[in-house]
Every structure is written in C-alpha cells, then in structure tokens.
Symmetry: D2
Subunit: 328 residues, 4 copies
C-alpha cells in the first residue's frame, strides 16, 4: 500500500550552485500546492543530524528565485558517512514527522541519500545542483548554464586587456572530471585552445597551435584550461613552459575560482529549478523514491540514484571540432 | 554532378538578434577552414540587390562573437519580394562569383531564400536568428536564450521597486505569435500570471487570480503579457481594467520594447551560433540546399525551408502548469 | 542640556532608489556601534502612524547592502500630511521609546520631517535617496549613480538594434524637473541630442541636428528625452513629428520606466550610503537635528532641511557643451 | 607667438583601463569639432617610434565609447626611455606633420611625455587612465569607477558561495601603492577587514577581528587585500596563517587579477573620458602644454606633469572609520 507523504524535507548539500534557491522555492511551493507540509533542513546532512529544521510555507521562499547560493546553506558531513550519523539523522527526521526528503546537490549527496534510503527505506529524491554539469542522467545540472555565462562574461573582460596588449592568457575554469564548462566557454569566448580532462592535446601541439595562431595574424590569444585538464599541468606550469619555449608571447595567468559558483541564476536555470522541484515533489507523492530528477530533450526525467552515481556525463565531441574550426 | 562551391555569401535579414554576429563569424571561419572565399552581404536582401558585398577572411570577424546586433546590418527589402528585384540580386551575386549564400534571419527571410532558390536553382542555407523562438525545426533560435536573460534581469529590477511599494506591474514582452519568452521569463521572474497568444486566460480569471494572490499575503505582483496575448488587451487596457475592478492594487505598466533584441549574446547563443555556422557551410559544401539549420536534442539538424516556414513552434505546456504551481 | 538619544528609528519614504538598503544597514550598524537601539519603521510615514516598528540589530541587516529596493518598504502617506496624522505618529514613536529618526527619501519626505520636527521638537535627520539627483545640498543622491549605469546599459542594448537597422530612437528617461540623468546618459551612450527640462532646444533645431547628423554619415541616432523635457512633447509626439518631417529616418520609441529605479547599487552608491548612515546617526548623537546629510567634494556635509527643500539642484552646463562636441 | 596646432596625435600607454576608448573618441571628435586633423598612434610610445599612425575622423571612433580596452592598443616601450628612441619618435611625428599629442595613461606615460616635451619643446597633454586611481591631481582616473563596480560585482558572487558554506575568503584586488580600490570595494561589498598599503593592521589584529566577528554571529567573512598591502603577506600566506591560528574558519583565496581591467566603462567613466578629451584638445589649442587633465570637485582641472608625477594620491581616511563601523 502506498504510504501517504505528509511532510517533505528539503536540503542543499555539497558545493553550492546558482539555481539552488529557485529549486528550494519550487519544492516548497509544490508542497504547498499539494497540501504537504515542507521543512527546510539547514546545512545539508550535517543539519539533518542536528535536527536543524524549519517549517516553510509558500511565502517563506519569497524573493529567493533570483538569488545565488542557498538560503538553507550547505555543508559536507563526515558524520553522515557513518552508520551512527545516519541513524541520528533518521531519528531526527522521524521526530519531526518528516517522511521524505529532496536533496539538491551532486554525486556525493545522491550516494548519501541512496544509502540512507537502503538502510531506512526512507523516500528520497534528488535534484542535480552543480555548476560542473558532471552528472549522468540529465543534460543540464542546476547552475551550469549560469556558470557558463558568468565565465564567458569574465573572459570577455580579460580579452579587453589581452587584446590591448597582445598577450596570451591561460585561464583556469572549473571542471575537475569533465570539460563541459571549458569546452563551451572556450567556444563562447573565442579561445585559441581548450584543455580538458577528456583529451590530451599535448604540450607540443599546444605550442604549435599558438605559433600558427601568431603567424596567422592574431595578436592575442586565450587558452582555457579545465582544472582537471589531461595535460596535467597547472596554468602556472603552462605559463612557465610557454615563457621558455615561445619568446613571441607575453603570458599571463588567471584562475577564476569561486566566483564561478555565485551570481543570480540565468532564466534557464530558474525555469529548470522550478520544473525539477515540482517533478521531485510529485514523484514522491506518487510513491517514487531513490531517483534523481533530470532533464532530457526538454522533458523531465527520472534516473535511479545508482545509475546517476555510476554513470558518466559525456562532452559533445562535435564541440571540439567546432572549436578547432573557430580558432582558425 | 556536384557543383563545387567556391564563394559563399552571408547576410543577416529581418529583425536583428544577439548571436547573429557570432553566426557571421562562424560562417566566415568555416569558409576559411574549408578554403572557400566568403563575402559579407550588407543590409540583407536590399544589399544583395545593391551588390553591397565585401570579402571577409578569418581575421575580419575578430572580436565580434560577443557583440549584439549585426555587423552586416539588416533590413527588410520590398524589392526582393519582386521577381525583378530577385533577378538583379542574382545577377549581382553571379557578377561577384558568389555561388551560394547563408541567410541568418526568420521566417520571412527563409521564404525569400526558398523562392530565390526555386527561381535560380541557387544554393541557399538558413540559420534561424530571432529572439522570439517562433520557428519550426529547431528548439532554439539564435538570440532567444539571451533575450530570456535580458528580460529576466530587467524584471528583477522592476520587482525591486514593485515589492518596495506593494504594486502590481503589467510587463509587456516580445512574442506576437508564440509565448515562449513570456512563459519562460514569467516562471523565471516569479510572475503571478502570464498572458500568452496560445491561451485565453480571460479577464475574469486574471482578476480572480490577482485577488487570491493578494489574499494569500503577497504584497506585490508581476503579470507578464506577450505582445500577442490572447486576451487581446494591451498592457495599458489591462491596467485600466484592473484599476476599475480592483481597488486593492496600485497598478503600473512597463513595455520592454527594443532593448530585448540587444546585448551581448549568452554563452549558449554563442556556441549555438558557432555550431550553426559550421553546419550551414558544410551542408552547402556537401551539396545540400534549401534547408534551415536547427538544433534538436543538442544535435545539429536540417529542416527543409518549406517545412520550417509552414510549421509552428509550440510552447511546452508543462511550463503553464509549473507556472501555476509556482505562483501559489 | 543635550538630550541623550537612546533609540533611533529609520524609515524609507517616497520613491525607492538603489542604495536605500545600504543606508538602512548603515544606520542600523552605526547605532549598534554607538550602543543605541535601532528600530525599522515600515512603509514610511504610513507605518509610523500605524506603529509598524521592528527592532533591528547589526545582524538583521546582513546581506542587504547589494539589494535594490528597500526592505523597510516605502509608501506615500496622506495621513502624515495632516496634523492629526502626525500627532498619532508622534504618540506611536513615544510609546516605543524612539527619540529620533532618520528618513531616507526625497524632498517631500524631508518637508514632512521638518514639519514634524517643528511641531514636536523631535530630532530628525534626512538622507537623500532618489535616482533623479534633484536635491539641493548634495552633489549625489543615493541611487543616482546606479541609475546612470542601468540606463546606459539599456541604451547600449537598444543601440545594438538601432545601428543594425539604421534607425532613430527616442528614449525617455526619468527626470521630471532636472536633466541630470538625461544629460549624463546622453553623453555616456553617445546620443545625438539630449532634451532636458532646463533647456528648450526647439523642434526645429532638433530636426536640423538630426538632418546634419544623417548627412555626416551617421546611420543611426539616439535622442534622449527627460520626462520633463522643455519642448513639452512626449516621446510619442516627437516620433510623430519626425515621421512627418523627416522621411529619411525610421523612428522608434522606448520609454524606460520603472526599471530605472531597481537593481543592485553601484559601488559608489553603496559607499555613499554607508557614509551617510554613519553621518546621520552621529549627527543625531551630537545633538544635531533637522538636517539633510549630503556629500560635497567627497566630504560629508549637512544642509538644513528648509534649504534642502527650497534649493534647486543644477545641472553642469559644461556637459551640454561636451555633448554637442561629442555628437559631431 | 602662439604656434597653431593643426594635427594632434593621440595614444594610449601603459596598462589599459576602461574609458580609454571613450577618451580616444573624445579627443578625435574634439579635434573634428575644432577642424584639427587627428592621428591615432598605435601601441603607445612604441608605435610612435615605429611611425604607426592612422588618421582618424569623427566617424572612425563610432561605437567604441562603451568598449573596454583600447582600440589603439597599448604597450610599454623601452626604446622611448632612451634619447635615441625619443629622437626617432620626434622625427616620425614631424614627418607626419603631427604637432602635438595627447597621451592617455599613468605616471610612467606622463614622465615620458614630460621628458619628450623638455627635449623637443613639443606640445603634450595627459589624460589619467588607470584603474588604480593612484595619480595626483585628479580625484578620479579613467577606469577607476568601472573597476570598483566590476570588483564589487565579483565579490557579490563570491559572497553567495561564502555565506552558503560559512567560509572566510581572502580576496586580492589591484592596488600596489594605494588602497583606493580595496577600501571602496571593501565597504561596498561589506568586507570584514580591508588590508591596504597605507596602514599596517597587523596579523594579530586581523585574527582578533575575525574572532570577534565569528563570536558576533557572523557565519562568513570576506577580507579584501590590496596587492601592496602593508602587512606584506600574500593572500596565500594569509590563508596559511589563519589556517594555523583559527580552527573555526574554513579559508579560501581568490586573486581577481586582470579581469579588473576590462569591461564596458561605467556611465561615470564615459562622461569623464568625454570631458577630459575635450579639455585636453582645447588646452593644446590655447597653447597649453605639459599638463595632465584632471577632475576636482566635478570641474575640469590642469596639473603640471611634474606635480602629477611627484604627488601622491591619498585615500580618504574617513572610509577606514566607516569600514570599521560597518563591520560591527
């Protein structure tokens, strides 16, 4: 028999991303729409263990759809990795009468939810929130589209100064495991080369490409480097290498860092968050559990947590080719 | 036998949209990559008739990927609607040795290209560029994503003042035939109601909805109105109606207008433009003609002009429901 | 003997402006710094009459420095214009133990404060908050610098489309009595002509100037029109006039409206607000009353309310000349 | 007898800054207005020595007022530091008939102009363009206001993530010799502490201040560090120090770097650039030479190069106090 859901908790976990607040708002309002009580759980699983809950109604999420970060705050929780920690979390949820939760986060957060579900048969749903877009089962994670615009906007500024001085810039962007951000902002910002975790361009080809670019009349160049690029050099090491091997360039480095995570979400991310929150709540209501909400071909979709966690998000290889053609 | 393409012309036609410059750049560079000469055709079909061509190489499109508007300028051409006009255009193209062209624009521009192709068996390809996203055969037109962000950003600003004064705002956004912009920015900006060409909400339901919203404790409200909304009232008439029928609100109106067309393209639009330009050029090279390049499920796609022109872009009805839930 | 101030109220009144939240934050924190209790008064003088007060400590203004609008909300109050209304307001303040207030607003708000001070000998200070910069006694009002950037940014977008189509745009910006915004954004956005309340350019000279500009090779033009421009024509009437008298232009109109009031304050406005809040609180502490805080030559300054209200903010005539030269 | 100026050169030199293009435009149009020919000199003094000149008329600076960087490009020139280099530059200018120039740049560029003037009695004027605002004789340099907004905008984004995770961020901003940027963005972004070249806060006081802030209930903190801060520690060393001495914080670092130089100029910088260009040209016309144009109390002003170069731009000490109060 289908257990009726009466109180849903919502938390954000792991690294924050633009659109998390819009997703919280959506979960809260979808609950209100379906006459379900909703509780905000602060500081991710850490706050779950501490019983740091607060009831939220439709009005309590007013004015947050366009705010970066997460009003529920986020944290990584070592305690939740232990059986004891999860037991306390379960007790706290039960105490508060919460009978299901939606976790907004990434791979690690979903793994935690999956184990929790297995141990306590507790209904859980996930919403993918991370700027890296490194999650299987959805073409877009919350915050990814916003991050692309944030990064492209910053690189446009750096290009102003690069092209005024005929300089070469190595710009490090986020992406430890996948090159989505690097690849798209590389094309979007007109980069000369893009170094990603998926492909080893090789230092020689990089230098050769920069030489060809200089010869073709380009006065300045931007090279985008994902954190986890395959060459395995940091942007600073790349600078040193080029300094030694290419006298023709004055090289500069920029590490974009945490600013990439912040800012007001793009329209796309706000709409996506709104859709995902509704889908998560309505999936729980209809008895589903242990899934991640995703978007595929502009349709809401569910992927079992174990697949979402095991699967690998793949870059679009067409983009590598487009990038090559564009940097002619 | 396949006729070899040696010189490709590129033009922008109809209303301008962010990403057109990125598409021009892509066409030019894809030509350079394939050792094809490329000519910019100024002021759309009008400039084609005037023979207003200029050769463009890879360097001549430097620094335009992030610029709004179109460096080739755009225009509507009455002459091109006549057989005589098109004959002159054909003669001018032949004179310059141009043996194919890519037109970046909307429905009207594609119709022109299709007729031109029929009359002269001249290879043509289209790239959909319009903020309205009202073209069949592609899930996204160039400029649409940028416009969503531009509009949401402006509505965020209006909301600052709306919520400081407990006001109701009617905001008119673009969309004569389809409600894509209205629907998405409505959700993205947290609008109370969204009036679109596809659905007749009815004035009574609008007033009722606003009353319910006031009763629920909301202090300010935003109603998004697409230019071509089904109720058939202008934002000014809507204001008058509410002024007369709802004493509880102080009503204001804002018509966003042409600013929606401008601005630096989003990362999405820059990448889309880059992909579309490559696809258009390479399709011409492989002997294809009379198609519009589109994107479907993140894959480049071709739609015959006659289908693109006859078909209708449809809104996602799920969004209407999400909007209802979000405005609880 | 100097009466010791123990509780200070703070309110925002009249039209909202970016920087008001930063000023509220500053008043609250300056109070906390000096061990004075601070109360937020909601909805301007209307909330004062209703006794709508809430105690605010340093943490309660967290995260608002960069938000547009006003968290205390604003309103116009007819009741406060009556002796009875003000008596109730006084009683409510006394009841709550509030013994001074800082009002953030414009001319009308200061007049109210001045009368209130005369009637009840109640210590009051004013902080000028309005995007129009139309207040005597300060070179900058809160929100003015932000509005200039907001407007210039929008006009940049309109110019993208204007120059793509060889169009003439009449753009209406705020400024009923003074042309500060029009004059500065006119220069900043490279406008052809600027119509302000201070000067009657005359329709003939406008048309002549536009003709000269066309002849000089300009393909598109922007004319900035302050709401209260001296010619006395609305932007729509101007369009009609030019449509009739200048066949060479395709004319469009844009009324920017309320978006000009919103948005995150510029760095300048945030710093100015922070300085003004401190100055207002410390002036009250040292026994001053009935003054408006202002900035002159980058130094904080006090102007008696009666002078601030009677005086007139003047535009910098040098800018008119610069504008003429720039539009050659 | 006053030598008539017939051809004026304009160049940008040293680090680029937003507003440089607006200043170039202004110099070119002021020349056009006064019927003087104007030549753009590429790549600063380096291009002067190479005779890299191009004639510019009013139309050739179209559409650049809102662009970051410099269309004339900039460079540092070692050759111009030699007598021989300057002699060649002089010969090239004479050859082209250029009889005066306006240099847009910083201290070093003015020193070069001053020496050149002494050696060849060649009329020169300077316009201060640098985001650091570190030049004596003007309250604002070109680009400074824009940089403040750029930086504050980025810190707002970092704060989104900082406050979602209860983190402490050390953010390095530009300012080797003066703390203008650090001080203003520190107040504007609500920083906990601001480390500037002018004042040695001391590591102990920093730690103490952070402890007090944590105790007062603040969950996250931002510390702004000017490149040339007096403590003499890099942001990375500061992080290490706090990591060792304050277990209560999770510390992160962000070095903003070159993005601070780019971007579309603020309205203030565009207007300032327009005014300065006119002033520079008209000063040359009236026979003045060897001055830097500046702004003081919103009035255009001239400062002899030797004073501009020797003098020191001072921070406003009131801001230090305001910052202390705001971070309570």
């Amino acid at each position: 028999m289908l257990q009726t859901i009466k109180k849903i908790g919502v938390l954000t976990s792991g690294g924050d991303a633009p659109g998390m607040n819009a997703a919280i708002r959506s979960v809260v309002r979808a609950c209100a729409f379906h006459d379900i009580k909703c509780y905000g759980i602060y500081r991710g699983y850490e706050g779950m263990i501490d019983g740091d809950f607060v009831e939220m109604d439709a009005r309590s999420v007013k004015g947050i759809i366009n705010k970066g970060g997460t009003v529920l705050k986020s944290a990584r929780s070592n305690k939740f990795r232990t059986k004891e920690g999860r037991q306390i979390a379960y007790d706290k949820l039960r105490e508060a009468g919460i009978d299901a939760f939606v976790v907004i986060g990434g791979d690690g957060s979903f793994t935690g939810a999956m184990i929790f579900n297995q141990e306590f048969n507790f209904p859980v749903m996930g919403i993918p929130g991370t700027i890296d877009n490194d999650i299987y089962g959805t073409t877009h994670t919350l915050g990814y589209d916003t991050a692309l615009n944030t990064v492209v906007d910053v690189i446009d500024k750096i290009r102003d100064t690069a092209s005024s001085h005929n300089r070469l810039f190595f710009i490090e962007v986020m992406g430890r495991d996948v090159g989505h951000i690097a690849l798209n902002v590389g094309i979007g910002a007109g980069a000369e080369e893009i170094l990603i975790p998926e492909e080893d361009l090789g230092l020689d080809r990089l230098v050769e490409s920069l030489r060809r670019s200089k010869a073709s009349g380009k006065s300045s160049s931007i090279v985008i480097v994902a954190e986890g690029d395959k060459i395995g050099k940091s942007v600073f090491e790349l600078k040193d290498y080029v300094d030694e091997n290419m006298a023709e360039y004055e090289v500069r480095v920029s590490v974009l860092g945490h600013m990439q995570r912040g800012g007001s979400p793009s329209c796309f991310d706000r709409v996506l968050a709104s859709r995902m929150g509704v889908k998560a709540v309505e999936s729980l209501i209809t008895g589903k559990s242990n899934y991640m909400v995703g978007i595929k071909n502009d349709v809401m979709d569910l992927t079992p947590f174990d697949q979402a966690v095991k699967g690998k998000s793949k870059i679009n290889m067409e983009l590598l080719r487009v990038s090559d053609i564009m940097s002619i």
